[in-house]
């Protein structure tokens, strides 16, 4: 513990504190801009950190990580464009709330939830990283599959309106994830001999396309209709005691989900927020409000995605296994500084570990202060005429998609899916299931196929492995519950009309 105190003492130094503030603010900015992601910012910053002492580099990079995942909620809430893929779920309730004249409240909820999510996962990072990562290795392919299956089943509960359209949308998302390298055989599939497709359709350009570019198109098409009066209500930015009482449970549950999803390598922040959001809807007293500006929805999505940051750092420091794409880059940064991550990191380079842990907390506090302080200014983004805003956003989307793999192909993918997103929206096909299908299908496929290789083709481990069996049972419950509730409501409604 004295080591951790040293870590904090170090981060409170003027220069480290400056680096953390800089990193957090840059992270928030990049996170808020659709198309640009934290991973890009960190990869760009990497060369500069070669010339810094390792602990300073860590301060900068970790605070960027924290900032980027938080910034995404700004554009998700105000413009219905997720700044980062992890904020997709925030658009569903943040935007309707902002549109109904309460952008300050929507942002305040998102920011507070982000802070709490970061805080809760940090506690686990600082105290339980070793036992948690020991437990996480017990998650094999079957456990991953049933976990993801559970989230996939939640398509049913996230769908609003027509169930058929929801399933169609989920199916479409899965289909988009299929082309490219077969994840468990290494062969090419569904590329039709077109080599640009060999790496498949990247998640980022598809998501930016459907959400940001699709929104730009629908704004262009309907630009005259959009003489929307901008009302700005600053009330409700800070949560009252009643708010805390009402949302506390949801916040803790979503943060725990996010932390755990973060710990599992290769699952990712967007999945954390999908599961937490669907979970919040399933357990909510007012599931019908989800998608129309539900406070619970914003809180679930944002506390979970921030919680994945602390979670993902856990296997990185405890075992040298990167929990996310950004962690893989952090790991690369350590190697350049000739620091060997792995079980010995705590022994060989305690200063690096404890700086990392301390930075995660300090950056979270700075994020909270900076974002709350800026809510008033940021919310004015909604009063900027869209005709000025859209071209700028489109430019960033193009830059971001290109920068992902330095390929023009990704830009075309993004524009194409912009058109797809626009038409889905016009046909009232919900976008939530599309995202869920797109994000989860590849993990579900790879883990199930790996599992079947392990078991020589037997499906039995799905029920004989305890963790997997629990997830499977939960999946069934989550599948049946919303349908049953839907059915009861309908019957109730019919009875009422008689």
């Amino acid at each position: 513990m004295t080591d951790l105190a040293d870590g904090f003492l170090y981060t409170f130094g003027a220069y480290p504190l400056f680096l953390i503030t800089l990193g957090t603010v840059l992270g928030i900015t990049v996170g808020a801009i659709p198309g640009l992601t934290g991973a890009m910012l960190i990869a760009l910053t990497l060369p500069f950190t070669f010339y810094m002492p390792p602990v300073e580099g860590i301060c900068l990079l970790v605070s960027m990580y924290v900032g980027a995942i938080s910034g995404g909620l700004i554009t998700a809430t105000l413009l219905r464009m997720p700044g980062t893929p992890a904020s997709v779920m925030t658009t569903f309730d943040g935007y309707p709330m902002a549109r109904s004249g309460r952008p300050g409240r929507a942002l305040g909820l998102g920011i507070t939830a982000s802070f709490v999510g970061g805080l809760i996962s940090w506690v686990f990072l600082a105290t339980l990283s070793q036992p948690l990562s020991d437990f996480a290795v017990r998650f094999g392919p079957f456990e991953y599959f049933t976990l993801v299956l559970m989230a996939l089943v939640l398509i049913a509960s996230v769908t609003q309106g027509s169930m058929i359209k929801g399933l169609l949308s989920g199916f479409l998302g899965m289909l988009v994830a299929m082309p490219g390298v077969d994840p468990s055989a290494g062969d090419l599939r569904l590329t039709f001999g077109y080599h640009e497709l060999d790496a498949g359709l990247n998640l980022l350009p598809v998501l930016i396309g459907v959400f940001a570019v699709g929104q730009v198109i629908s704004d262009i098409v309907g630009i005259e209709e959009r003489a929307e009066a901008v009302t700005m209500d600053r009330r409700g930015i800070f949560l009252s005691v009643r708010d805390w009482m009402r949302h506390g449970l949801n916040m803790v549950r979503s943060s725990l989900i996010g932390t755990w999803v973060g710990i599992l390598p290769g699952v990712g922040a967007n999945i954390g927020s999908i599961i937490a959001y669907s979970g919040a809807k399933t357990f909510s007293k007012h599931p019908e409000r989800f998608g129309t500006g539900s406070e619970e929805g914003i809180i679930a999505s944002e506390s979970a995605n921030n919680a994945t940051v602390g979670g993902a750092l856990i296997p990185l420091i405890a075992m040298g296994i990167p929990g996310s794409v950004i962690d893989a880059i952090l790991l690369g940064a350590l190697l350049i500084h000739s620091i060997q991550p792995g079980p010995l990191l705590f022994v060989n380079n305690p200063e690096v570990v404890y700086t990392m842990i301390a930075t995660a907390l300090v950056a979270n506090v700075i994020m909270f202060a900076v974002m709350l302080g800026a809510v008033g200014q940021v919310a004015r983004l909604r009063s900027v005429p869209r005709a000025f805003l859209m071209p700028i956003i489109l430019v960033f989307c193009v830059i971001g998609s290109y920068a992902l793999g330095n390929r023009m192909f990704d830009v075309w993918v993004m524009l194409f899916f912009g058109v797809v997103g626009y038409f889905l929206e016009r046909s009232r096909v919900p976008l939530g299931p599309f995202v869920i299908g797109l994000v989860l299908a590849p993990i579900a496929e790879e883990s199930l196929r790996s599992g079947l290789m392990l078991s020589a083709g037997s499906y039995a481990p799905l029920v004989t492995r305890p963790i997997s069996a629990v997830f499977l049972a939960l999946s069934v419950v989550l599948l049946v519950w919303p349908i049953w509730r839907h059915y009861r409501q309908h019957r109730g409604a019919r009875r009422g009309s008689h």
Partner: protein, 318 residues
Amino acid sequence: MRMLSTLGLALGALLLAAQGPAVADFPEKPIKIVVPFGAGGNTDGLARMFQKAIQDENLLGAPLVIVNVPGAGGSIGARRVKDSEADGYTLLLMHIALLSGEAAGLMDFGYRDFEPVAATADSCLVTAVMEDAPWAGLPELLADAKARPDAIIHGANLGAVNHMAGLMVEGASPGSKFRFVQIGGGAANFKALKGGHTQVAHITLAEYSSFRAGGVKALAYLTGERHPDVPDLPTAKELGYDLDFCLQNWWFAPKGTPRDRIDRIAAVLEKAMQSDYVKQIMRERMNAPTFLGPDALAAKLTKDYAMIAPIAQKAKQK
């Protein structure tokens, strides 16, 4: 990462301006290194190490700019370089995946479509199990794999180098057969071993040294000479298997790049290898400081292709 290149360009312009007229004709502008894998990986780390060493010691007179073009096992980035102008300003940094990808039919081009520039660093794989595994050494493991074919689970990234190493090892003892399962790279395999999901994997020596404290045991070092940092680890050849599975980092230029430019880059790389910084990092990553020039690399590629082609085809059949 586009901004990175822009930044590099600006930096390069500054450096050039600072140097004045004493610059040789080549390079006149930054040289783009295409890393066909993501930022933060092994190959990316190596590229960035050279970038720093060359910049710090001012060996080239122009900076290196690293462009990550990941995807499809490296073939997207490799294709980009193949189709680039052959002027020496675009290079590819890749490894044996270029050979195996061609042999397995995943790429419709191969090493013959490039000019070899240099090989830098060399790191051989180890056969890894957990400390509590029942096998005392590689012979016991292979005997068990023969007695119970398709029962011992070998984690790998199917079609990639750690899969081929496994195939090569089981091939060294006819009749032995592992059950290969898709797991992923070094860190993922460590996790799978530790969680008891798999029993064997092939990882790099550097990975072994970082995971050793987590309970990983190495059975053999897949080459002829013991490594000075792990003197107790027997080599495959000592154990009687004619196995050599090492990863070199290869630098390529597009076909038709002028020879003098290739020689210049190779000379710079060789010089960078001798810098203290590169030496130190190589030592830490447990890479041997091997260096091969254009001709030596060309010969090695032909030899390695003949070795890897049958295994790559076998990996594909699986």
